[in-house]
């Protein structure tokens, strides 16, 4: 099997000495290309921590993470930032779009960070807004869009630099059930392909059907794994 993510022995704690709490107690994990992987579990079980460690924004205390055969925690911080920019797309629960920039400008940002000339970037951003079905909303600011539309803009921003790994943290938590389902369904059928993988952290049982595989976390460990026939 062709793996995009491999990780092993991940340990992460917060605080020192007596006040130390373990968020990850030794997690092993792999993700293959073309896979939609869910991480679920009770609040405080370490899902967000795991996602952050895997995606290169939170350094683990122990263990290693390899993405596309690069051991990311051996990179220095600017190399790592560059690696994320080129290889990982992020979608957050609260979208984190700039409310007063236009949808288009929000989507352009990752391209601007990659020094892509403005005209080229604009065209590409528009293309991805088209993919998420918002081409005709390109010049509107996010605060004028619905929650579902905002999350689509955020998805366009996550995929505009054509990353191979997408990480979604609670992508449907701020959306109503139907909209959430539609968005994940859309992601599963239109965004996911053989050349990329998607990791989704969620509580939302209504979207479980779209997963290929579900990891159940509890108290900093993966307790069991469920494969969905799909």
């Amino acid at each position: 099997m062709n793996l995009i993510v491999e990780a092993s022995g991940l340990v992460k704690w917060f605080g020192e000495e007596a006040a130390r709490t373990f968020a990850l107690r030794g997690v092993d994990l792999w993700v293959s290309y073309g896979e939609m992987l869910y991480v679920v579990g009770p609040s405080g079980s370490g899902k967000t921590t795991l996602l952050s460690v895997i995606s290169g924004i939170l350094r683990p205390n122990e263990g290693w993470v390899r993405i596309k055969n690069v051991e990311i925690w051996k990179l220095n911080s600017s190399e790592l930032a560059k690696f994320r920019l080129n290889n990982i797309g992020f979608v957050f629960q609260d979208y984190h779009l700039f409310p007063k920039l236009t949808a288009l400008e929000n989507v352009i940002i990752p391209l601007v960070l990659k020094n892509i000339p403005w005209e080229v970037a604009q065209e590409r951003a528009l293309h991805y807004l088209d993919i998420v079905g918002l081409k005709n909303r390109a010049t509107l600011p996010p605060y004028k869009l619905s929650g579902g539309e905002q999350q689509r803009v955020a998805i366009a921003r996550a995929i505009v630099s054509e990353p191979d790994l997408l990480v979604f943290d609670e992508p449907t938590a701020s959306l109503d059930g139907e909209t959430g389902k539609n968005i994940i369904s859309f992601v599963r059928h239109n965004i996911l392909n053989d050349k990329r993988a998607i990791i989704v952290v969620t509580h939302d049982t209504r979207i479980f059907d779209f997963a290929h595989r579900i990891l159940h976390m509890e108290d900093g460990l993966i307790k069991n794994e469920v494969n969905h026939a799909s």
């Binding site: 560059k82 992020f90 957050f92 984190h96 779009l97 920039l101 000339p117 600011p141």
Partner: protein, 379 residues
């Protein structure tokens, strides 16, 4: 420079119209106040030296206790000959500077500055607009300076007579001065001899001795020789500097201007600083999200610096515009309004603006550098 970052940064800034307006207003306000204060200060300082600059002598000799042109310590007559015999001195002439009281035709009194020019050379003579400088030798003759104070004497024409310190005076010419004076009195020129006859004087009557050197290089030597006989020689520019320092440091004026500049600075910084910080705070999570996406601290610092530079650029421009219009308007209404905008105070204001915006963005930058993308993820 990444044009894209600049575009996004500026768009982000101006799209928050209320904050953007407050920011520009804060900087504009500070620029206006500081520029206005300092240009008034420079204007006043320049005028404070009009008594020296309007005479146009190379070297001034005075009593060593003189601190400014406000206190004139009269010099003994023998000093004139002593100075004339110093090697390096080409000419030396006395000048009288003092004040008198003119009784106007309507019975009111008006204080005037009197300049008594050396009878033989008329050294330090003003620029004549009407009449002939040599009419100054005719009986009771005075030449009046047509400046902003001229009308206080009833705008006298040639031939007009008046009473000065109980003597008769007649206007024989109208002159103009290079630099208007600071204290709002009209100025009359007459001869040295007549000045000391008409005006109550002390035992000694020479206000200053004006010297022309054979060569500018003789300056140091002449200064030394003059100090040997117990007096002080200064070049024109040294005298001017001394007077300016006097007004700056010994009259409270400099202190006041400094205080006002500081206050403007503090007010400008707090308005701009708070607004900018609020702006950064409001977008903090989004900046954090950008860090997750792969923006470096450098990218974000660049963004903030661009934004603050843009604000200071606008504030500086508007502040300058408003201040120069204000001064131009004030000069239309008050001909004697002293403010002068020079490159010096524009430059000073620019420095203050840069300081204000640097300080304002600094706290924002620190905050942005510290935000961890993980915090954004955790919500």
């Amino acid at each position: 420079m990444n044009v894209g970052i600049a575009r996004i940064a500026i768009k982000l800034l101006i799209s928050d119209k209320a904050k953007f307006f407050t920011l520009v207003l804060g900087v504009t306000f500070a620029v206006f106040l500081i520029l206005q204060m300092t240009s008034l200060f420079i204007g006043i300082l320049t005028r404070s030296t009009s008594n020296v600059l309007n005479v146009g002598a190379q070297v001034w000799i005075m009593d060593p206790t003189v601190e400014s042109d406000r206190t004139i310590v009269p010099l003994p007559d023998y000093l004139l000959n002593a100075v004339r015999s110093i090697p390096g001195v080409l000419y030396a002439f006395p000048i009288y500077q003092g004040s008198g009281l003119v009784k106007l035709p309507n019975g009111a009194y008006q204080g005037v500055n009197i300049v008594g020019l050396d009878d033989t050379s008329l050294f330090g003579r003003p620029i004549i607009l009407e009449g002939n400088i040599y009419d100054i030798y005719s009986e009771d003759a005075f030449i009046v300076v047509k400046d902003a104070e001229y009308k206080k004497l009833g705008s006298p024409k040639i031939g007009a007579t008046f009473e000065i310190n109980d003597h008769r005076g007649v206007i024989v010419g109208i002159a103009r001065s290079v630099i208007p004076g600071l204290f709002g009195n009209p100025t009359l020129y007459t001869t040295y001899t007549r000045a000391i006859q008409y005006l109550p004087t002390t035992r000694f009557t020479i206000s200053y001795i004006l010297v022309t050197l054979k060569e500018p290089s003789f300056l140091e030597q002449v200064k030394r020789e003059v100090s040997k006989i117990g007096y002080r020689a200064m070049s024109e520019s040294e005298f001017v500097e001394m007077i300016k320092k006097y007004y700056m440091f010994k009259t409270g004026m400099g202190m006041n201007i400094l205080m006002m500049t500081l206050v403007s600075f503090v007010v400008g910084t707090s308005i701009a600083g708070q607004t900018f910080y609020a702006f950064v705070l409001e977008n903090l999570e989004k900046f954090g999200a950008l860090k997750a996406i792969g923006a470096t601290n450098g990218d974000l610092v660049k963004t903030i610096i661009l934004q603050s530079s843009f604000v200071s650029f606008l504030g500086f421009g508007f502040g300058n515009l408003i201040c120069s219009s204000y001064i131009a308007f004030a000069k239309m209404r008050i001909p004697n309004y002293a403010a002068i905008i020079t490159y010096k105070n524009i430059f000073l204001t620019l420095l203050v603006v840069v300081l204000i915006t640097t300080l304002s963005s600094y706290i924002g930058i620190r905050r942005v550098i510290r935000i961890e993308p993980f915090e954004v993820f955790r919500g």
